[in-house]
Every structure is written in structure tokens, then in C-alpha cells.
């Protein structure tokens, strides 16, 4: 396995601008995942397995499964994104890259945001794209499948953003994986409520505007605040 190397600017060049630094961090994380595809695929398979366990556990009653489907898919997505979150900063911390990121001329919150974006692209997005298939297993009507996938598209970035704070707080801590879930899962409860609730609301004929607006509002808020909080947590971890 080849180690991923950050392209170093030569001494004669100007230091990279903020956008260029973000692009570097983003591409680097993306390349890292592409070279170790098993990690991303494992999270996706975990997601599929957890969802498939429910009909075996609660019985294959179609009406019951239809009402349960949004919640089950959402909870499984939550758990699956926890798996990959633990490695968001841990690998960089181990090989010393994190210290270089802290010393970079690019503001740390922007680099953190780039890393979170790369994380979402390789975990949350895959889960959202895979969800229609699972929804079919639960016999959801076509309109609800679209709502479920949209709610996951809106909600999974929040999992990467809020989860990133937890990942930053647990960098270098023993038993980080369990602790991470303990910290992050209570914080993402509103995302779960509005995400899974949107499918129920659309089935009840209430429309999805309210739920999607709230998810969007939380997303905008988290886009601004989560990188700042995660950057503060990283500075504390490495001081």
C-alpha cells in the first residue's frame, strides 16, 4: 500500500491560498479513501446488513416494515457513518499530518471543512445513494423513496459535520471509537427526528417543506459552526 503524500509546494512558489489549501486537503483525503476502498465499502455493507437485520428481528409484516423503514434506514445510516468518523482525524494524528495541518497557512477551520466534505462524499453520499434499494426491500411507495433519499442527502452532511466535532474531540484518546459514538449520537438526534419524520409527513399528506427547511437550516448552521468547533478541539488535542 503506498502512503498518501501531500504535494509539497517548492520553496520558490508563493504559499498556497485558502482555496488551494482546502482543495489539497480535500483531494488528499479523497485519494486516501480511493486507495483503501475496503473501508468505505465496509461501512456501506454494514449499513445494508443492519437494515436487513430488522425484518428478521421484528417479522416480515409488510405494513409494519413500511412504517418502520424510514427510521430503520436513518438509524442504520447514523451507525454506519460513526464507523468511518473515528478515522477522520485519527490516521492524520498518528502519522503527524495533523500537526502539519495546524501549522499550515490555510486557516484550520477551512481545512477541517474540506476534510469533512471529503468524508461526506465517501460515506454519507454513498449511504444516501444506496438507500432507495433498501427502501424497496421494505416496500416503501415510490414517492416516499424519493423523500427518504432526499432527506438522507440533506441530513448526512450534518452527520459528517457534527460527527467531525466528536472525532476532533476524541483524537488520541484511548477507546476513541466508543467514546465518539457516545458524544455524537445524542447530538444528532434532531437530524434523525426531522430526517425520518419527513417521510412520515409526506405519507400523511403534510408535505416535506417544514422538515426539509429545518434540515437545511441545521445544515447551514453546522456548515458555519462545526468546522470552528472541530478546529478548536483539534488545537486542544495537539497543544
Amino acid at each position: 500500500m503506498t502512503p498518501v503524500v501531500l504535494p509539497m509546494p517548492s520553496r520558490t512558489r508563493r504559499p498556497p491560498g485558502a482555496l488551494q489549501g482546502m482543495r489539497c486537503a480535500f483531494m488528499r483525503d479523497l485519494r486516501g479513501v480511493l486507495r483503501r476502498r475496503t473501508d468505505a465499502v465496509a461501512a456501506l455493507v454494514f449499513f445494508v446488513i443492519v437494515v436487513s437485520l430488522f425484518p428478521l428481528g421484528v417479522g416480515a409484516e409488510p405494513a409494519l416494515l413500511r412504517t418502520m423503514a424510514p427510521g430503520v434506514v436513518w438509524v442504520a445510516a447514523l451507525l454506519a457513518s460513526m464507523l468511518s468518523l473515528a478515522r477522520l482525524f485519527a490516521d492524520d494524528h498518528q502519522d503527524g499530518t495533523l500537526e502539519q495541518l495546524l501549522l499550515s497557512t490555510t486557516p484550520l477551520p477551512l481545512l477541517v471543512l474540506a476534510k469533512m466534505a471529503a468524508h461526506w462524499l465517501t460515506s454519507g453520499l454513498l449511504l444516501a445513494l444506496g438507500s432507495p434499494l433498501l427502501a424497496l426491500q421494505f416496500d416503501l411507495p415510490t414517492s416516499s423513496i424519493g423523500v427518504l433519499a432526499t432527506s438522507l442527502l440533506l441530513g448526512t452532511p450534518l452527520l459528517s459535520l457534527i460527527g467531525g466535532i466528536g472525532a476532533a474531540l476524541t483524537v488520541g484518546v484511548r477507546g476513541a471509537g466508543v467514546l465518539l459514538s457516545l458524544l455524537v449520537l445524542p447530538l444528532v438526534v434532531p437530524v434523525l427526528i426531522f430526517g425520518a419524520g419527513s417521510v412520515g409527513a409526506s405519507e400523511a399528506g403534510l408535505g416535506t417543506v417544514a422538515h426539509f427547511s429545518l434540515l437545511g437550516a441545521m445544515l447551514v448552521l453546522a456548515l458555519v459552526l462545526a468546522p470552528l468547533a472541530a478546529a478548536a478541539a483539534l488545537r486542544i488535542a495537539l497543544e
Binding site: 466535532i165 474531540l169 476524541t170 484518546v173 484511548r174 477507546g175 467514546l179 457516545l182 458524544l183 449520537l185 445524542p186 447530538l187 438526534v189 434532531p190 468547533a229 478548536a232 478541539a233 486542544i236 488535542a237 497543544e239
Partner: protein
């Protein structure tokens, strides 16, 4: 010593605050005992029986103050954590740290008495009502802060990391407070508000206010007692802490 009168920074030194807390703890503790005893007398003996819920409602005198304190302490913890992060003071982090177990205890009491109250009146120990759920999440957040603090060995780093988590989690407290209005479900609305006249009999209200003040005093006394111990633990290498430990044993 500041000769120009009182200064807030005077007690920011752990050594001075240790002494101040030592003087305050017995007084506030006695006040708490008096208020809680008085509140219990008013609540259990004087307040009239509710015409709908019978005597079962009387658990309100423990349930509501505990629920208030569970939220107030979380905000207080986040406040001190913010002060500690902004000004890098040791004392603020120690106070935030000392508040967490009391806050978790209050949250647990609120949930526990709520379950005991729910059984005779709603017919169930637990419902997935928005307010109950948010209170449960608050308990999880307290546990999260506690376990993050315990997992990091260096106390100063642990303080700051737990402080960031407290500030992130404080978003949850308004959600709890407004949840009854947002998702109007089984849990009743607030009985007391500043905007309108209270919807309960005067002795009930009096009992609840006395109990609430008693819980405030209890939480302050317990937290101050705990912060003294945290201080001694952290400052055990200093002469004054050695002296204090020597004097105690």
C-alpha cells in the same frame, strides 16, 4: 491584595476561592436543608389535593425543581466552560467540572420522578414524548461530558475538550425548553410563566418556589464542596493545598 476595593479577580486564585467556598458551604448547605424541609412541609401537608390527579401530583415538588436544575446546571457548566476557554482560567474549568455530576444527578432525578408520576396519571412509566426524550438526551450529554473528561489523562486538556463539548451540547437546552410548544404532545405545558398569572393554587406555587430555591442552594453547596476537592487534587503540589490537606486529616 487589591487595595482599591473589591475585585472579581481576587477570588480567581484557587487558594482564595478554596477558603471562600469553605466558609460558604455550611451556610448554603444549611439554607438548602431548611428550604427543602419547608418546601416538603408546604408541599406534602399544606398544599391542597389536586381535583384531577389526587395526591399523586405532589411529586411535582421534587420533579419540577430537579428538571429546572438539570437545565440550569447545563447552562452554568457551559458558561464556566466558555469563561475558561476564553480567559484560560483554571478556576472556571474546575467549577464547570464540579457542576457535571450534580447536573447529571438532577437530570436523573427529573426522569425518575417523572416516570413515577407518569405511571398513576398517564398509565405508563415512559412515553417517547418530545420533552422526556430531550431530557434523556440531556442525560446522555452529561454522561458524554463526564466520560470525555475521564478519558483524557491530562486534566487541563480534558477540561478544555469537555468545555468545547459542553458548548456544543448547550444548543440542546433551548430545544428542551421549547419542545413542549414545538411538538405539543402528552407532557403538559409549563405551569408557571412570567407572562401570565400562574395556573395553580397559591400554596402549591409557594411550595414549588421554596423547593426550587432549596434545590438551587443544594446544587450550589454540593458543587462548591466538590470544587474544593477538585482544587485540592489539582493543586496538591502547592504549599497551601498540602497545608489544607494536613489540616483536614
Amino acid at each position: 491584595m487589591d487595595s482599591k476595593g473589591f475585585s472579581w479577580y481576587h477570588f480567581a486564585a484557587p487558594q482564595r476561592f478554596y477558603r471562600l467556598a469553605g466558609i460558604a458551604v455550611p451556610w448554603i448547605g444549611a439554607l438548602a436543608a431548611l428550604l427543602i424541609a419547608g418546601g416538603l412541609v408546604i408541599g406534602l401537608l399544606i398544599a391542597p389535593t389536586d381535583h384531577q390527579q389526587g395526591d399523586a401530583y405532589r411529586i411535582i415538588f421534587v420533579h419540577v425543581p430537579a428538571a429546572w436544575m438539570s437545565m440550569v446546571i447545563f447552562v452554568a457548566m457551559a458558561f464556566w466552560a466558555a469563561i475558561g476557554l476564553a480567559f484560560n482560567t483554571r478556576l472556571a474549568h474546575m467549577i464547570a467540572n464540579a457542576l457535571v455530576p450534580t447536573g447529571a444527578l438532577m437530570t436523573f432525578i427529573a426522569l425518575w420522578t417523572g416516570a413515577l408520576w407518569g405511571k398513576p396519571t398517564w398509565g405508563t412509566w415512559w412515553v417517547w414524548d418530545a420533552r422526556l426524550t430531550s431530557e434523556l438526551i440531556l442525560l446522555f450529554l452529561y454522561v458524554g461530558v463526564l466520560s470525555l473528561h475521564a478519558a483524557i489523562e491530562d486534566p487541563r486538556r480534558a477540561d478544555r475538550a469537555a468545555g468545547v463539548l459542553a458548548l456544543v451540547g448547550v444548543v440542546n437546552v433551548p430545544i428542551i425548553y421549547f419542545s413542549v410548544k414545538w411538538w405539543n404532545t402528552l407532557h403538559q405545558g409549563a405551569s408557571i410563566s412570567l407572562a401570565k398569572a400562574p395556573s395553580m393554587a397559591t400554596p402549591m406555587l409557594l411550595g414549588m418556589l421554596v423547593m426550587a430555591l432549596g434545590f438551587w442552594a443544594f446544587c450550589i453547596a454540593v458543587s462548591l464542596a466538590r470544587v474544593r476537592i477538585v482544587m485540592l487534587e489539582r493543586e496538591r503540589h502547592t504549599a497551601w493545598a498540602r497545608q489544607a490537606i494536613g489540616a483536614a486529616t
